[in-house]
Amino acid sequence: MHEMSLAESVLEIIENSAAQHGSAKVHAVWLEIGQLAGVEVEAMRFCFDAVTRGSIADGARLEIIETPGTGRCLNCGKTIHLIERYDLCPECDMPVEVIGGTEMRVKELEME
């Protein structure tokens, strides 16, 4: 479950940002997670709660913004919405190249 490593990285980013802004308490965290990023959102919530316990983000609200998967058809070049990585172009029935939805980013924090 690599979400635990990811949650530890999130906490590190939170702690660095809070230190830079002279804050000792973080109330809310916004993450942007692409639907093709290989991250299980519920596992991420669970791990976030576990790693932030006793930290400056203890009890912080976690908002996860899921961004859709997008791909470009290698045949017709159209941009299509992908639910899964292996979705085929609905018009050509050909494989597509993933161009969006793999992000995982700490977007914003709310702190004291």
Binding site: S5, E8, S9, S17, H21, H27, Y86, V98, E110, E112
Partner: protein, 263 residues
């Protein structure tokens, strides 16, 4: 997790030694992104509560270590491959056979990743090449910082081939760049042809798929063409080579790929 720099879990061992080190030099620190800014606004938490834009990739620290490894490999002419697969795909056997076939041609070094035991590093050392074992404890993947520390122990020769055998897991290692030139995914024919669709992130991240243990095909109902089509569906650019460390099938093609890409 190391409480000073967050490097790996407390159970992490590199070359059998617990992972401990001073953090006074050489450790990466985050620089504050240039665009980061804050603004005050009204909020239920009181007048002092504020929103701060961060916009930082969660993997940025790993990626920075990976970049540093990549620069090290480039400076020393080291061709590094990250071998990924499920447990039991036969990658250690394939690796020992590959090393035997390359003997006298190219210097080879190996980093072995497993949760526990140094069995694999011992198997590699028996072929005469240097190997360092990383035990991740409960960790499910190698990360770029572990590789940096393993390189300090291993010290691969200039212009060598470095194989990094990741923890057997078709999920988590897909997300973690180690600084390698390519991820090579190994899938054995005893695992089922639908694995590229079931674990698409790994097959999407790999540049090469070795379809291994093909000497067993006569005893199985594995559909090679279907498996290759599935792999190309998640990664139209993936190259596929059929291999067997036992019969030697495909080993020439695999070694040819190594020579073409590594020199």
């Amino acid at each position: 997790m190391c409480t000073t720099c967050g490097c790996g879990s407390g159970e992490l061992k590199i070359g059998g030694k617990p992972h401990t080190h001073s953090h006074d030099q050489g450790e990466l620190r985050f620089r504050r992104p240039n665009h980061e800014h804050s603004h005050e606004h009204d909020h239920a938490h009181g007048e002092t509560s504020r929103r701060v834009q961060v916009e930082q990739d969660i993997l940025s620290k790993n990626n920075a270590y990976a970049q540093r490894n990549r620069q090290h490999f480039a400076a020393h002419g080291i061709f590094a491959l990250n071998l990924v697969s499920s447990p039991g795909s036969g990658k250690t056997t394939l690796l020992t056979r590959t090393i035997e076939l390359l003997q006298g041609e190219l210097p080879v070094a190996v980093i072995e990743g497993d949760q526990q035991t140094s069995f694999d590093a011992e198997r590699i050392r028996a072929t005469g090449v240097s190997a360092v074992q990383i035990n991740t404890g409960k960790g499910c993947h190698l990360d770029a910082h572990m590789i940096e520390h393993a390189l300090e122990d291993l010290k691969p020769d200039d212009h060598s081939l470095l194989f990094i055998e990741n923890v057997g897991n078709l999920v988590c290692p897909a997300s973690f760049d180690l600084g390698e030139a390519h991820k090579v995914v190994i899938l054995s024919v005893t695992e089922g042809e639908d694995k590229p669709l079931k674990y698409p992130d790994m097959f999407a991240a790999a540049g090469l798929m070795l379809l291994n243990k093909v000497d067993l095909l006569p005893y199985l109902s594995f559909d090679v063409q279907k498996c290759m089509a599935y792999a190309k569906r998640v990664n139209p650019r993936i190259r596929v080579i059929l291999t067997s460390a036992t019969s030697g099938e495909g080993m020439d093609e695999w070694l040819g790929w190594l020579r073409t890409h590594g020199t």
